[in-house]
Symmetry: C2
Subunit: 552 residues, 2 copies
């Protein structure tokens, strides 16, 4: 029933995956106002969300709003690893036997209902992750729903490429042998999806739904300090599963604490056959190395580079770049970090601009955002974690001592939440040629390093070496020289990185479009899971066949 209701949407998504042209399955979500958002989240104050039937244990998660500083005080059912695995095992047969259309229908209906409650989900997202309400409606709203739909459509298309049956006939010796063959897709087994604290929906929806569509029971483990939005999504899926006559425990929420984490225990259990992880490179690498004989999909982090070679309009470019550094306070895996400026400066339509002037223009563009409270709030949101604030401050102190500090990550004035944990970009300027320290790997949060370099070629060389060592998720180039763009795109491709060129517009530079932009190449250390290529879905199901002789 759900399948038929959403079939046109599904077909359109599959077609968008094929053409990779611009498309969306979901109308924009109108953000709630501040009071509505507070009310949405306040409605869960003191509540217990029972999102696994397999336990009576409840954990009140350590969730504190980055905006109000107030504890959310929501309890969640918290199955032990054994309980969660038993619950998944109990749901497996019914989910498997439900068939493709029933399961895909559940996925589509769940996306539809999450969309309908988009403002409530945005409120929960904002008060756990620190995203602004606007971003929570887009990045964690429609864009996340689109990435979820994209993965469902990819899984559906992959399963559909195998015929259900065939009459097979061949001559052996002097006789014709005719076999009737059936091909049935079967799930691999229990799946674990580990979501990150600051941007849980965008990566978790595709993993959860690709697993469900292909018939694998899912354990969803959010970050212990950012649970509510994920819990609401799991709640919607469980509700739809139940209406479809399928076990609610086909999806369970597994909540743990920072003192007693459960992800490693679950990921290494032989009963877990699929692991999807979004989070730190440290744990991602640990999973890639320690999970045996299960599919492991990781999206961690890398060093996202920007090479400034030549531009048309410097101010417009700096506005885009300042927006990119500021957006959600740099807490996105696509945020630019290392910005290369050649010794000769940047060529523009108005002549060559020196490096000092470029840095001044960038700083000024950041100040424009930082000093406009409503705009700053909409762009920067808040920091999810105190630890990020501390690491930014430590970086700034060190840079000040080194003489490399350009701009501290000063807070902006949040117009609605004076207590909000807010910052604006920290800017540090280094020259590796004179031995300035450049941190290895990603610095989480709004931290950018302006890197002095000899010229474009040396920037490419340094940047691609960084990518080979530490990975990259998004990379950026500004150059008006088409031949140079081709050469740099090749060099990045050879390092296993994609490249965005000359983005100067109202589109956030780190925007990755579902159905079109492949997110994470799998060819550098930033992770091995691509949203959404065929390798993201192909192994989640396998084929069993039977063949019966009907004539010989």
């Amino acid at each position: 029933m759900f399948f038929d209701a959403h079939l046109d949407l599904l077909k359109a998504a599959a077609e968008a995956n094929r053409t990779r042209a611009a498309w969306t399955g979901y109308a924009p979500i109108t953000p709630p106002d501040v009071e509505q958002a507070d009310a949405f989240v306040g409605a869960y104050d003191g509540a217990t969300l029972q999102l696994s039937s397999s336990t009576r244990t409840v954990i009140t998660a350590d969730e504190v709003s980055p905006y109000t500083g107030k504890a959310l005080d929501v309890g969640y059912s918290a199955p032990s690893a054994d309980e969660a695995l038993a619950g998944a095992a109990g749901a497996a047969a019914a989910l498997r036997d439900a068939g493709i259309e029933s399961r895909v229908g559940v996925c589509l209906e769940a996306l539809h209902r999450i969309h309908r409650r988009g403002d409530e989900f945005a409120a929960a997202t904002s008060h756990t992750t620190g995203q602004s309400l606007g971003m929570a409606c887009s990045g964690s709203g429609t864009n996340a729903l689109d990435r979820g739909l994209e993965a469902v459509a990819m899984a559906w298309a992959a399963m559909n490429r195998v015929p259900e049956s065939v009459e097979w006939q061949q001559t052996f010796g002097r006789s014709e042998v005719k076999l009737r063959k059936r091909f049935r897709p079967r799930p691999l087994g229990t799946a674990l999806v580990v979501a990150c604290a600051s941007f849980p929906a965008w990566n978790a929806y595709p993993a959860i739904l690709a697993n469900l569509a292909t018939g694998n029971p899912v354990l969803v483990k959010p970050h212990p300090r950012s649970v509510l939005a994920t819990a609401l999504a799991v709640g919607v899926i469980r509700e739809v599963l139940t209406e479809a006559g399928l076990p609610a425990d086909s999806v369970q929420l597994v909540v743990d604490t920072t003192d007693d984490p459960v992800a490693a225990r679950l990921a290494t259990d032989p009963a877990v056959r699929i692991v999807d992880f979004t989070g730190s490179p440290t744990f991602g690498t640990w999973l890639e190395r320690n999970v045996q004989d299960a599919l492991v999909f990781t999206e961690t982090a890398g060093v996202n580079t920007v090479i400034l070679d030549s531009v048309g309009d410097l101010s417009a470019t700096m506005r885009t770049l300042a927006g990119g550094l500021s957006l959600f306070s740099g807490q996105m895996c696509t945020t630019p970090q290392n910005i290369y400026i050649p010794d000769g400066g940047v060529r523009t339509d108005a002549g060559v601009v020196s490096r000092d002037e470029v840095v001044a223009a960038l700083t000024s563009a950041i100040e424009d955002i930082a000093t406009a409270p409503r705009r700053a709030a909409a762009v920067c949101g808040a920091l999810q974690s105190d630890a990020t604030l501390q690491s930014i401050d430590a970086l700034a102190d060190r840079a000040e001592a080194d003489g490399t500090l350009i701009r501290r990550a000063a807070p902006y004035e949040h117009p609605d939440h004076p207590q909000a944990r807010v910052v604006t970009p920290l800017l540090i300027r280094v020259d590796p040629r004179r031995g300035d320290a450049l941190p290895a790997g990603e610095q989480f949060g709004p931290v950018a390093f302006v890197i002095d370099c000899a010229d474009r070629e040396s920037a490419v060389e340094h940047a691609t070496a960084t990518i080979r060592s530490h990975g990259a998720i998004s990379s950026y180039l500004y150059s008006t020289d088409d031949a140079a763009v081709d050469a740099v795109a090749d060099a990045y491709a050879d390092a296993g990185a994609s490249l965005s060129v000359n983005l100067v517009s109202s589109m956030p530079m780190q925007y990755a479009a579902a159905y079109s932009d492949y997110h994470v190449t799998g060819l550098n250390p930033a992770g091995n899971a691509t949203l959404t290529d065929e390798s993201f879905v192909a192994g989640r199901f396998r084929m069993v066949q039977d063949r019966r002789q009907v004539e010989a």
Copy 2:
């Protein structure tokens, strides 16, 4: 050039993959006669095959013909792990940049040339693996070529499903943003293919060619006692690569010795990103557990069960089953091993036949093959390894002591090679209910256990438990009750196993058809690599993209 020449063939193969109907890309190969075969192999006596440019080391492999007992005395270039990896790294960029059609063309032309030299390849296969010349022309000839073509077509289709570019346009705020995006498939990295001793081509061709088609340099490591046929194939591919202007070292042969094996060293090197292994469950499991952050494809072994419930013509059924047990002396991963017969006997069109009579009919059908030397030679071939002969003898001695022996694995008289290492099936009859020993896992070679069981249901229960513990590659049922067939197919599917039903014909029961039969489900312990589903090709390449703003 090669691509265009074979494009029709490629398209037909892709279409066969889609419909899964019967199709072959290669005309039957006429087996050489015994003298021709000797001459083909003799031509390499004392020769050195240089199949890697990266070393001067040569190993004379320990290859002894199972038919003549004579050493082949062929030398092969034997790069160290470091040399082989350096050679692959040196070839990587050119292979990657050659593009899809150039690489796919090389694969297709290589298959074509191997086919043209089919009789010579059959001779080399026969005198290393023990396959009869007829089987070497089919199972290791056309069938292996078809499985190779199948994998190439799957890889080609997968890469083709991604468009090369798109103009992407979307509104942000009040402005239209237009991006020109390119999508380029890129190889994952150096690949290792480890082939088995008795049936190297059928599994290695798909892995080698799927890697090459997607741009990954390949190290091919045959079993140290079964090198020549694989070496000839590598030689053909290198020759075609060179003609296509690509580095010959895109494929290298890596030869080692049983005393100083190199596979584990290579498989765990961080530079190796893909491992394909066919061989023992022990090493396959070791690879699955110890290879970190690389794709691992395994095909090992399982316990292939046969349930005899009801048949039309018992004699015809027993002829098919005797043929299945005898074919290539049970040295195929699809050979039946555990045969269940219910206490009530087997229902036939001529009434119920008791278990003793069924066993007698099977034994008699085996004797029919064993006592007809030409037929026995064509069906059974020879044992690749002395170790197999020893383990069969040990099993027979134990069974004799236990009182469970039905039939010893007596040699047949080979009409052409009196020295050949030949046997016929060993039959042992056990009743697990009275505590008879039944070995865990596969017994390599022509070893069958007739298992007394209460009824069909208990047979299914016992068989599927075995599959869950030890895996299965092919499973068989004989039942004239359609409802029972459906139920048993479901039970096997739930255990992650495919099922062949009522095969009674001149088609060998263990025949698995390229383009149609999925080989290895990946859902039980017999391996994780399916010939050929999308998961076999999807991860071997990933996408890099670049996107350039063309208007805003």
